[in-house]
Structure formats: structure tokens, C-alpha cells
């Protein structure tokens, strides 16, 4: 089953901590967004494998924009 991890708020992609094929646990940090002068990690909501990373460093992102897809 494909799960999409979306941005909880607008900001800029500051760090990408995983790549396609990585196995992650629930709550693992996947992407770090820079917003409100802070670096806010976006975490996995499930255990799974990363399929696809939809953003790259310095991308400007909106709320609910899909960042990572995992299985």
C-alpha cells in the first residue's frame, strides 16, 4: 500500500534524510523543512520502504504537498 507523506506547513526543503529503497520505522525523520526560522522534521507515519522522493533541496513547498511516497 502506498502512503504519501505530505508537508504539514509551507516552507523550504532544508534536508533530505532518506533515499529510495531505505527502510524506515514509524516516526523516523524523512525530510527537514525550514519554516518560521526553524528546521522542522517531517516524520514517517508508518513502517515501510521509501519509493519516491518528490522534492529536492531548496524547493519551496506548500501545505499538503506530497514530499515522500513509501510502501
Amino acid at each position: 500500500m502506498r502512503i504519501e507523506i505530505a508537508a504539514p506547513m509551507p516552507g523550504t526543503v532544508a534536508e533530505i534524510l532518506v533515499e529510495a529503497g531505505d527502510k524506515v520505522e514509524i516516526d523516523d525523520e524523512l525530510i527537514v523543512i525550514e519554516a518560521m526560522k526553524m528546521e522542522i522534521p517531517v516524520c514517517s507515519t508508518t513502517k515501510g520502504t521509501i519509493c519516491d522522493i518528490r522534492v529536492k533541496l531548496k524547493d519551496k513547498i506548500e501545505t499538503d504537498q506530497v514530499l515522500v511516497v513509501l510502501e
Binding site: 519554516a35 526553524m38 528546521e39 522542522i40 522534521p41 516524520c43
Partner: protein, 514 residues
């Protein structure tokens, strides 16, 4: 025997009442995946503990006597894990549990008894709305509250003498909505709805096409209105949640919650607590991890987890004792608090203060969300409201400054000068009017870079907890790994104080929704 016939007839009537609105209606209820009122009471209460009042009540409308067993609402006393409670359950199989005079009289009279005896009050809501034609006409309407000139208030009040719990278990309108808004704790079952008016009524009144789900499905309340505290997966989960909530509460507002056994492995992660805090001061982390490390294993009971998410309000236990935790959540919006978070906090202050639960504040927030949207949501009013409530709390307050605590946010989180009985900081604490980097910009931004950097770093230094501790505005700076031990000790001290933590309940009359 002289009265045999009478007894036989009486038993017959009671058996009839147990059949609720009839087999057909019961099957219809089951087909929706829902239990009947009597089944729900049976599942929630300890076996055999139910003492019913008013089984023989029925509608006062001519011709309706035999069609309205218990007039659509079941009330009585029972126990939950040995705790005596009053229970009221809407019977959807009888005229969709609509409100009429006898139905209302049962609710009103029983609620008065429960209040008088300071017993927890559980309402299992299903259906509702005013019954037609019973309430029609001037006699119908003015008599609908049954009891006289002031009795209608029982529908909307909660005197906070003992916890009032409302469960939303069907498509609920009218009375269940008031019971939810007045309650101390609300749980909604997925698939149920809660709104003032229903879709069918709206169609006729304003020709609108909203569904019940759109107006009051579980997500509407869990995420947007904040009227519910928890969402249950199904009815069994709902009963489990109610039992769990009651276990954190005292039996009434004059007593303390019970001291429970401490689960094994509680506090075993304390020595790793510093791993949760990132090295970079601008990096967010998940505050739940800190809470889970500090409290007894498995005892976090979250309230409104999906509403106002920049603040966490949860019950938990530390060394067996119930505490109410208000904590900033850095991973949401950097921990900047909005109006939903303030509402959530105010409600939680009232809950803990009313039921003698000490409050623990964990600070890590840059302050409030500001800007046009915040002003339109009247952030000033919400801040004032929350401070007013905080100023009237008389249960013990413990404040631990984990990291950021700036400006008004510091006061709103019960920081120094805002009334904490116990106030300490972690070495990582940053306390200042403004974020030091922002303040440096404001004050020194126009200076040459080398001087600006020096002054900026000085501001960051001065925001550490040391200077405040030096003036006794902080009682101590603690090793984060000692936080659980510190709290266990403080809770022991509180238990030894006069009253042991029972408050004066100045918030008992605070409005429930604001």
C-alpha cells in the same frame, strides 16, 4: 394471593419495556453497526450493577403510552470498575430518542440527583432533536422543559462536582450537542455525527444539502471544532476510553485521583532523554518523546490530539499519581501557539483544576502565531482568556522550561511570575522577551557585522537559565536526566501539603466553550 394479577401485569410491562422500540427497530439499529441503549449500558457498566429509574415512564401524548417505553431514554446508577456513576443513554429505537416532556423530566431529575450526590455522569448520546408534535404550539413549547421557570438550564450546565462524560454514538442533534459542549470529556465513535440540526431538517428549513457527516462527522470535531476530546474506532473502543478516562479522575471534586501501581520499566529511558533534544537550537523535535520518557509507561492519555496540535494536553501518571500535562509541541509550527491551542489549554486547565489534578507545564515555544490571520481569530482575546483561567487555578502547578520560552508565551505556560508553585529549567532553556536572534536584529542590526555578531551571541548567552536562577526567579536548573526523579519528589511533597493537592475549584463555573 391478592396482588398476583397486579404483579403479573407489572412484570409484563417491564418485560415489554426491555424490548425497547421493538424487534424491527432493534435490528435496524444493529444493521447500522450500532448497539441499543440497553446493550450499551450493559457493556459499559460492571456486570449486574445497573439500577434503573423510570423504566415505566412513557410519553404523555394520548395514544402513545404503549409505543414509547421509558420515553426513549434510559437512566440509572451503576458502577464502572467499582466506581459508582450515573448513566443516561438515548434510546434511538423509540422515536429516534427525540426530546419530549417525560423524556426531559427523566434527564433533568436524574441529573439533579447526580449533581446532588456528586457522582460522575455519563451520557451515551444517539439521535435527539425536539419531538414533533409534542413540542408544537405555545403549550407544547413552554411546557417542554416540564419543571418550571428555571429548569431548562440542566440541559446546558455542568457544575463540575464530578466528571461529566458524553459519548456520541449515533447521528446526534440537539440535546446530545448541548451535553457534549457542557461535558468535561467527550468521545465520538467513528461513523456517528454531532450537529445542532440534522441534514433532513436542514433540507426542509433552508433547502441546504449538507450531509450529517459533513456537518458533524468525527473529523469535523476532532480537527476543527475541538468539541470532542477523543475519537473511538467503534463502540467497544468508546467504552474502553470512558473507563480509562474515569480511572484518571477522582470520584468527585473533593477527593484526589487514585494512586495506581507503577508499571514495570517506567522511566527506563530517562538516561537517553538528552538524545531527544537536537544539538541545534533551531531544530524541532517531537515533545511526545520527552513526555513518554518521563511518565509511567503507557499512561499517556491524550485529549484533543488532532486539535490545536501546537500544544499537547494529556493526562498521565508519574509514580502512580495522575498529572495533567500541558506541553508545547515544537514539531508542529515550531511550537508557535495559535487560537485553537489556547482554547485547548484553557479547557484543560478547567478540567485539571476542577478535579484536583496537578498541572505540569513543559515549555518549548517561540510564543504565539502573529499576523493578520491570528488577529482575525482574536488571538488577544484567547490569550487573555487563558491567562484569566490560569490565574484562578488552585491545584499545584509545576513548570519546567525545556528550551524556548519567550515573551507572553512564557507567562501563558505558567512560567516565572505566572504563579507556578514549582519552577525549574533545563540547561538548554532559552528565556527572553524575543528570540535573541530576532532581538539582536532589532537592536543591533545596523551595526558593523563583527560588533553585531558579538552582541547577538551575548544576547543568546543571557537567555540561558543561569541569570534567572541567580535571582531566584527559577528555583533550580536540573539535569534533564533527573526530571522524572524531580517530579516524583515534587508530587510526594504535594501529597504531604494540607489537602494533598485538592484545590478551591474557582474554575468550576468557567464556561465550557469559549
Amino acid at each position: 394471593m391478592a396482588f398476583d394479577k397486579f404483579i403479573e401485569k407489572l412484570q409484563g410491562k417491564k418485560e415489554q419495556a426491555l424490548l425497547l422500540g421493538g424487534q424491527h427497530k432493534i435490528e435496524s439499529q444493529h444493521a447500522k453497526g450500532r448497539l441499543t441503549a440497553r446493550e450499551r449500558i450493559d457493556r459499559l457498566l460492571d456486570p449486574g450493577s445497573f439500577t434503573e429509574l423510570g423504566m415505566l415512564a412513557c410519553s404523555d401524548m394520548p395514544g402513545m403510552e404503549d409505543k414509547t417505553p421509558a420515553d426513549g431514554i434510559i437512566v440509572g446508577y451503576g458502577t464502572v470498575n467499582g466506581q459508582r456513576i450515573g448513566i443516561t443513554a438515548s434510546d434511538f429505537t423509540v422515536l429516534a430518542a427525540t426530546l419530549s416532556r417525560v423524556h426531559g423530566k427523566k434527564m433533568h431529575d436524574f441529573k439533579q440527583l447526580i449533581n446532588q450526590y456528586s457522582l460522575p455522569n455519563v451520557f451515551l448520546g444517539d439521535g435527539g432533536g425536539g419531538r414533533v408534535p409534542d413540542g408544537q404550539g405555545s403549550i407544547g413549547m413552554t411546557s417542554s422543559a416540564m419543571m418550571g421557570t428555571r429548569s431548562i438550564f440542566h440541559m446546558y450546565t455542568n457544575l463540575r462536582r464530578a466528571p461529566m462524560i458524553t459519548a456520541i454514538m449515533g447521528n446526534c442533534f440537539g440535546v446530545p450537542m448541548w451535553q457534549a459542549c457542557a461535558a468535561d470529556f467527550v468521545v465520538q465513535v467513528k461513523g456517528s455525527t454531532l450537529s445542532v440540526s440534522g441534514a433532513r431538517a436542514l433540507q426542509k428549513i433552508i433547502a441546504a444539502n449538507y450531509s450529517d457527516e459533513e456537518m458533524g462527522g468525527w473529523q469535523i470535531h476532532a480537527e476543527h471544532t475541538g468539541i470532542t476530546d477523543r475519537t473511538a474506532e467503534d463502540e467497544e473502543d468508546c467504552f474502553r476510553i470512558i473507563r480509562e478516562f474515569l480511572d484518571y479522575m477522582p470520584p468527585n471534586n473533593r477527593e484526589l485521583p487514585s494512586k495506581n501501581p507503577v508499571p514495570e520499566n517506567s522511566g527506563r529511558n530517562m538516561d537517553k532523554i538528552l538524545d531527544i533534544l537536537p544539538e541545534k537550537r533551531t531544530r524541532a523535535y517531537n515533545m511526545y518523546k520527552i513526555i513518554q520518557s518521563i511518565v509511567d509507561s503507557g499512561t499517556v492519555f491524550d485529549l484533543k490530539p488532532l486539535f490545536g496540535k501546537t500544544i499537547i494536553t494529556c493526562l498521565a501518571r508519574i509514580h502512580g499519581r495522575t498529572v495533567g500535562i500541558i506541553a508545547n509541541q515544537p514539531i508542529v509550527n515550531g511550537g508557535a501557539m495559535g487560537t485553537d491551542a489556547l482554547e485547548k489549554m484553557t479547557g484543560f486547565l478547567c478540567l485539571c483544576d476542577s478535579y484536583n489534578i496537578p498541572l505540569l507545564f513543559l515549555h518549548d515555544s517561540p510564543g504565539f502565531l502573529v499576523g493578520k490571520e491570528a488577529e482575525l481569530k482574536k488571538v488577544g482575546a484567547k490569550v487573555t482568556n487563558a491567562m484569566d483561567a490560569l490565574s484562578q487555578v488552585t491545584v499545584p502547578k509545576i513548570s519546567i522550561i525545556i528550551r524556548k520560552s519567550y515573551g507572553q508565551g512564557m507567562f501563558s505556560m505558567c512560567g516565572p511570575s505566572a504563579g507556578p508553585d514549582f519552577v525549574v529549567a533545563w540547561p538548554s532553556a532559552e528565556i527572553s522577551f524575543l528570540d535573541p536572534v530576532v532581538a539582536a536584529d532589532v537592536a543591533y542590526g545596523s551595526l558593523p557585522d563583527e560588533e553585531y555578531q558579538k552582541l547577538k551571541n551575548q544576547m543568546i548567552q543571557e537567555a540561558g537559565p543561569g541569570p534567572a536562577a541567580g535571582r531566584f526567579f527559577l528555583q533550580d536548573i536540573i539535569d534533564p536526566r533527573e526530571t522524572r526523579n524531580y517530579l516524583m519528589n515534587i508530587l510526594d511533597i504535594i501529597a504531604d501539603c494540607e489537602g494533598g493537592g485538592v484545590g478551591k475549584h474557582l474554575l468550576a463555573n468557567w464556561p465550557k466553550q469559549f
